[in-house]
Symmetry: C2
Subunit: 424 residues, 2 copies
């Protein structure tokens, strides 16, 4: 028993309130749903209070999107959200039935019923606040509440969808709102790894990780949990457990307990993970006059076009002209180029706009880098020794990122994982 | 009473172990030392266990450096460290005498006696480990241990100095090693502010801040506590209280308790602070061939010359040439330029090396930026609307930084503080 200094229970209280989120693959078919129900029943028998959050079954969301595309070319936001959110409702209702078979009374709730008030940005709504009084009532009556993930209701009382991966956000936000002891994110991987195990065979599962390390990791390519949910967990310090609904083994605890530094010299830099992201494209706006307003115009226009700009690098040289490079999700690239070529580049006086889809972003994440300038040099050397060219660099207090050619990114991850002693 | 979820005591346990560090101005003269002794005596009477860490008195370190410069042109590291560390020893011994006058038994300890083992990098040694058995013994005997800050002993048993601002690191590392309940850093400011109060009259003291926010803030110009100590506090989650030894009012608690987000819409980005740093210079190595090894060579040579590189921005354009810009402390600029012009620039095939000392780095720090691309755009617009040109941009998951002209940096901070609603 005992607690870490930062308060995450190593052993939960005798009766713990736990929010458990099950992703799409965990509830892909009715067999899996029965397995989930069995797991929940065990938790209840052990005395825990459980709130479930469920995603849509397997590929259901894709199928609903496909149906919509067959019937409509305009895909109006309000109706799209009404359609898509049916997926999670269906999964929730089925899980409740499976729980009843286990003798566990359960009730499903839509996002709206669960008290999720969102903005009106259909298909990508943000949570404004949560009033989960029906969930609390259900818990008080000994009934397991099962909440449909990734959905809410707008101030105009329309159903809204939080976007892909939104069930993680539902779970984390609900855990905060209910002051739950723990939020368990059940997925098809067994935790957070020091690198993608598909790329690095010797990648290690990290038993413990801090909120800010996970935030930088998910912001630079670690696919799970969804980055938005990590932002909420980071802001509100919601203790997470990222774990597998297939092996049920202990996964990765996310808290601010000190991580694995104890064995190392105190002020030594400790690299914890190497991430990579192949899902972004790089855009360069070249030879822009170096004067006030250029970046403002550029990034406001992109923000208004809902282009999600990630890494921004600008660097002015002596000739009074500047190149601005940034990365965007590949899916946003076409829109970004339309905006740029549709007048913005001309307005900025740019000499050209180029895009490169064949990039990979490779990042190292860890602590103590600022006082140890050799860390960045070691990263650059490791890449150079393997003839991997660096196209962009950006640094933060706990991260160094390099953009390299996409077809060299995985090798870069492997070499860096070895160079920083993560092979275990 | 009560605890925040992340475990930082809002009210300390009845008997708490507190490490209290007093900076140079707090012990500048014997009057101030008596005031500090009086404060410590009150804490002891309240039942706390106190470990003191002291800096050298006022300008003492500067005076010792001045003496050295008058007698030697070579300033050998071993003797310099022996000389400089005398300052903290003197302050520690005097504080012990002042405590005795208050009826509080106290004993002073050098860094070596306190168990600080460091590397051999004289004048800027790093802590390897701490074996504070004499401190524990002293505490067990009811004697207040007073530890000379910023010093230790190398494996070769030479006295080492941790560098300027090293007493903060001594205190934080000792607090971790002793598993203290709290580390109080007493200084001449009353806490951590949303911006430098000398620049922004409406800057607000932040009652609570997270480790990673403080890390990004000190990495981008917030002068206190010293960045290195924040790296240690961040790595080991040492609860800090940054407060004034002049007003004695409550200051800023650093923990991972949720900060002031509770009143805002859940997924809204929250900008917490605007920092600026005028102490750095920008170096641009221009028209380097875009090929593997360039960054590696550059930053390894700089690291070996002990040049502390901070922000790195590299951006490749279409012509196969790249400019690499980075910032260094102004004090490291001459060395950096010597290294670059002494062969490294030629080796890299660079077309030129330029330096600009008249830069200021302005940063916004906060949570939820990644899901809200408008944050960066708002920053750029605010600067543009005030005709402030941006020379470099770099982003992280919780920060956006812009390099601007030094003489516009303070205005930039003021405008951003207002634009992000921090004026209170």
């Amino acid at each position: 028993m005992g607690q870490t200094r930062s308060g995450l229970p190593l052993a939960l209280p005798v009766v713990a309130l736990v929010v458990q989120k099950f992703g799409g693959t965990s509830v892909a078919d009715t067999d899996r749903m029965r397995i989930v129900a069995d797991h929940v029943a065990r938790c209840i028998r052990r005395g825990d209070q459980v709130v479930l959050v469920v995603s849509a079954m397997g590929k259901e969301t894709d199928e609903l999107l496909h149906l919509a595309a067959q019937v409509s070319s305009s895909a109006p936001g309000r109706e799209m959200d009404m359609l898509i959110t049916a997926g999670e409702r269906k999964a929730g209702a089925l899980i409740c039935m499976a729980l009843a078979d286990q003798g566990v009374p359960a009730q499903s709730f839509t996002g709206s019923q669960a008290g999720f008030l969102t903005d009106t940005n259909h298909r990508n709504a943000k949570i404004l606040e949560i009033n989960p009084y029906r969930i609390k009532e259900s818990l008080a009556n000994g009934i397991v509440p099962v909440v449909a993930g990734s959905q809410g209701v707008s101030p105009e009382r329309n159903v809204t969808f939080l976007g892909r991966g939104g069930s993680d956000t539902t779970a984390v936000a609900l855990a905060h709102s209910l002051q739950a002891d723990l939020c368990e994110l059940y997925t098809d991987v067994s935790g957070v790894f020091s690198a993608d195990p598909r790329v690095v065979t010797r990648a290690q599962k990290m038993p413990l990780i801090s909120f800010d390390e996970l935030l930088e990791m998910t912001a630079t390519g670690c696919p799970k949990p969804a980055m938005r949910s990590v932002e909420v967990a980071h802001s509100y310090q919601v203790p997470l457990h990222v774990r597998s609904a297939f092996t049920w083994e202990p996964g990765t605890l996310v808290s601010d307990a000190p991580s694995s530094k104890e064995d190392s010299p105190m002020e030594q830099p400790i690299i914890r993970a190497v991430t990579h992201d192949l899902s972004e494209a790089k855009v360069t706006v070249s030879d822009v006059p170096d004067q006030p307003g250029v970046s403002a115009t550029l990034f406001r226009e992109l923000a208004e076009g809902s282009v999600n700009v990630d890494m921004i690098v600008q660097n002015v040289s002596d000739d009074g002209l500047t190149d601005i490079s940034f990365t965007v999700p590949v899916g946003d690239l076409e829109r970004a180029m339309e905006i740029l070529n549709g007048g913005v580049a001309a307005k900025l006086g740019a000499n050209g706009v180029s895009a490169d889809q064949s990039i990979g972003r490779v990042s190292i994440i860890g602590a103590g880098m600022k006082s140890n300038p050799g860390v960045a040099a070691t990263m650059f050397e490791t890449l150079a020794n393997n003839e991997i060219n660096i196209e962009m660099i950006s640094t933060s207090a706990i991260r160094v990122s390099c953009v390299v050619a996409a077809d060299r990114a995985e090798e870069a991850v492997q070499r860096l994982h070895t160079a920083f002693g993560l092979d275990g």
